[in-house]
Subunit: 342 residues, 2 copies
DNA sequence: ATGAAAGCGCTAACAC
DNA sequence: GTGTTAGCGCTTTCAT
C-alpha cells in the first residue's frame, strides 16, 4: 500500500541542488533560524518557489521538531456550542500556522484515553480538551509526560492544570435569580450530565440563588438531563406532570431549553405566558427561536481563542505561568421569561 | 524547541528487546502482515502491552506506510449542516481506524489551495472536500498526483472525480412545486452563493418548476444570498419590500430560511399565514423552530458516511471504479407553508 | 519465519 | 554563514 509517488515529491534536497547550497541551509531558510546570508536566502527562496516545495510535516516532526498540529478532543460536533468554540480555536491556530486534528469520542469513554495517548505520542504538539467527563484517568499520564494541554469548560483542582471555562456557578445563580426576581417561586431545573463539572456548577448556582431568596430546594423540581434536546423534552414533561408543576424552568443549556419549550407546547401551554424558560450558552440559534430564548451567554468563541493562546504559550514555554481563565457569563433577557401567571 | 522527552517513549525497538526478537518482527506483528510464528506473535503482543507501546504515526508515514489520516476541508463549522456530515464521516473513520484532520478555510480562498497541497504532501492519505467554490485550481494538481479525494456536495464534470451529493436540482424543483401546488404564483427565492454548484442547481430546479407550471420567471423575485442567516434576512426584507411582494419564499438552505422568517416577522407579517417559507437541508434545528420549518431534507449523515467509504475504497484500490453518488432529497412538510392568503 | 540494513525527509548538533 | 552528519521510529526489501 505504497503511496503513488509517480511524480517525485520535491524535497529539501532538490531545493538545495537547485539553489546550489547544502540542504541544511535550505532547512535554515525554511525555519527562519540562525543567520543565513541574505543572498543565499533569496536564492533558496526562489528555488523553493520554482520547484513548488512543501515541507513534509511527518519528517519534521520525526526529526525532533514540532509537528505544528494541535489535537482537539471533543464529544461530537452537532452542537453549535462546539462549532463556536472551534471557530475561536481556529482563528488562533491559523494565525500561528498550526493545524487542527479533530477527535470526536461520541461519548465512548474508552476511546478518549486511547486518543489522548496517540496524540501525545508525537502526532500533536499539544492538546485541547473539551467537555471531558472525569478526565482524570488520562490527565494523569499527560501530566507525567509533561505533555501540554488546556482543558475547556472544566475547572480542574490540580494546580498544574490549565483551563478555560465560564463561570458556571455564577451563571446558574444569575439565571435563577432572574427568574426569582420576576416573581417565580417554583422553579424547576433540567440539569446537564451530572458527571460534568460545568453541569454541577450550574446546579450549585441554582441552589444558591434559591437559598439566598429563602426558597427551599425541592428535589422533585430537579430533573437530571443530559444537555440534549430530547433530554430537555423529557425533563420538561416530567416537571409539568408534577402535581404542583413549576412556573419557570432553568435548562442547563440552550439545546435542552429547546426541548423544554417543546414539552411546554406539547402540554398545551405557552412560553412565557404559562411557563418561563431560561437556557445557557447563547448559541446562535437562541436568538432565532420564536419566542427568542432568554439565556446565559458564555463567550464561546473567546473561550476557544483563549484556550488556544494559552496552549501555544505553553508550547513556547512549558513553565509558562499563565493563569487559567474563568470568563464571566452574561444574562441575555429575550422573550421566554416573564412574571408568573397570576 | 525540543519535545520534552524526559520519559523515554517506548519504540518498536524496546518492544523487540523485551520480546527477544528483532524489531522488524515487531513491525510485522504490529502491521499484521506476512506470517509470524504464533508463539512469537504472542510474545511480542505481550511485550507491547507490558511496555504500553503506541505507534508513532509520523515515523510510519515517513517510512512509506500510510498515515491513516484523512483530511477534511470545510469552510467553517458553525453550520449544523457540516456537523451532521462530519458525524457520518466520523463513524466510518472510527470503524476503520483513521484519524481526521480538519481544515477550515473561513472562505479565505487562498488558503484552500495551500492546505490541499500540504495535506497531499503526506500529511493525509486522502482528502474529503466539502463546499468548495470553484475547486478546479487545486483539483487539477490533485489529479495529476493521483492523490485520492472525494468531493461532498459538488457535481464534478470530470469523469475521474468522485463525489457525493444530494439531488439539488430535483430538491429545488420539488420545493418550488410544493409551493405552487399550494396555490402560490408569486414565489421568491433567496439563493446561496452562486459560485457553488449546489446553489445553482437549486435555483435551476426552482426555475424549472416555475416553467412547468407556466409561471414566468421574474428576476426581481430572485435575491442572491449566501447561505447565511443575515443573508436570508436581507433577502426576505428585499422581497417583502417589493411593490408586488411574493406570497411564498424558497430559501436555499435552512439557515437562510430562518433569516427570511425573521424578516417576515420584522415586517409585521406571519409565517405561514401571510408568507410561506421552504428551506433546504433539514438540519436538526428545522424541526425545533416555531413554527416548524418545511424543508427539503438531504441525508447529511449518510452523505458523510458514503463519501468516506468511497474515499477508503479509493485508498485501497486507486483504480476503484465506485460510482459517485447522488442522493435523493425529500420534502418534509411542516408548518411554514400554507395556501396563499386569499 | 525471522533478521539485517537501507532509507523516508527532516532537524540539530558539530565542524569548518 | 554554511556544510557534514547522525539520528528521529518506522516500513520494506533482501538475505538467510
Amino acid at each position: 500500500m505504497k503511496r503513488n509517488k509517480s511524480s517525485h515529491e520535491v524535497t529539501i534536497k532538490d531545493v538545495a541542488k537547485e539553489a546550489g547550497v547544502s540542504y541544511s541551509t535550505v532547512s535554515r531558510v525554511v525555519n527562519n533560524k540562525s543567520y543565513v546570508n541574505p543572498d543565499t536566502r533569496e536564492r533558496v527562496l526562489q528555488a523553493m518557489v520554482r520547484l513548488g516545495y512543501q515541507v513534509n510535516l511527518h519528517a519534521r516532526s520525526l526529526a525532533g521538531g514540532q509537528s505544528n498540529v494541535i489535537g482537539l478532543l471533543v464529544v461530537d460536533l452537532t452542537t453549535q456550542y462546539l462549532g463556536e468554540i472551534i471557530n475561536g480555536i481556529d482563528d488562533v491556530l491559523a494565525a500561528n500556522r498550526y493545524e487542527l486534528m479533530l477527535y470526536t469520542t461520541h461519548r465512548r469513554k474508552a476511546k478518549e484515553s486511547a486518543y489522548v495517548h496517540m496524540m501525545a505520542r508525537g502526532l500533536a504538539d499539544g492538546l485541547l480538551i473539551s467537555l471531558p467527563r472525569e478526565p482524570e484517568a488520562y490527565l494523569t499520564s499527560l501530566r507525567q509526560k509533561g505533555f501540554p494541554y488546556v482543558i475547556i469548560d472544566f475547572r480542574s483542582e490540580d494546580p498544574s492544570d490549565h483551563f478555560v471555562t465560564a463561570d458556571n456557578y455564577q451563571g446558574g445563580y444569575d439565571a435563577t435569580k432572574h427568574l426569582i426576581s420576576l416573581g417565580h417561586q417554583r422553579i424547576g431545573i433540567v440539569t446537564g450530565w451530572m458527571d460534568m463539572v460545568s453541569a454541577r456548577d450550574r446546579l450549585d448556582g441554582y441552589r444558591a440563588a434559591l437559598d439566598d431568596a429563602g426558597i427551599p430546594f425541592e428535589s422533585e423540581l430537579l430533573f437530571e438531563g443530559d444537555f440534549s434536546q430530547p433530554g430537555g423534552f423529557r425533563g420538561g414533561s416530567y416537571l409539568l406532570d408534577l402535581a404542583e408543576p413549576p412556573t419557570a424552568i432553568f435548562a442547563s443549556n440552550d439545546i435542552s431549553a429547546m426541548g423544554v419549550i417543546e414539552a411546554v407546547r406539547a402540554h398545551g401551554l405557552q412560553v412565557p405566558g404559562d411557563i418561563s424558560v431560561v437556557g445557557f450558552d447563547d448559541i446562535p440559534t437562541a436568538a432565532l427561536l420564536n419566542p427568542k430564548l432568554t439565556t446565559m451567554r458564555q463567550p464561546l468563541q473567546e473561550m476557544g481563542r483563549s484556550a488556544t493562546e494559552l496552549l501555544l504559550d505553553l508550547l513556547k514555554d512549558p513553565e509558562d505561568k499563565s493563569e487559567s481563565i474563568i470568563f464571566p457569563t452574561e444574562l441575555i433577557v429575550r422573550e421566554t421569561t416573564a412574571p408568573p401567571h397570576p
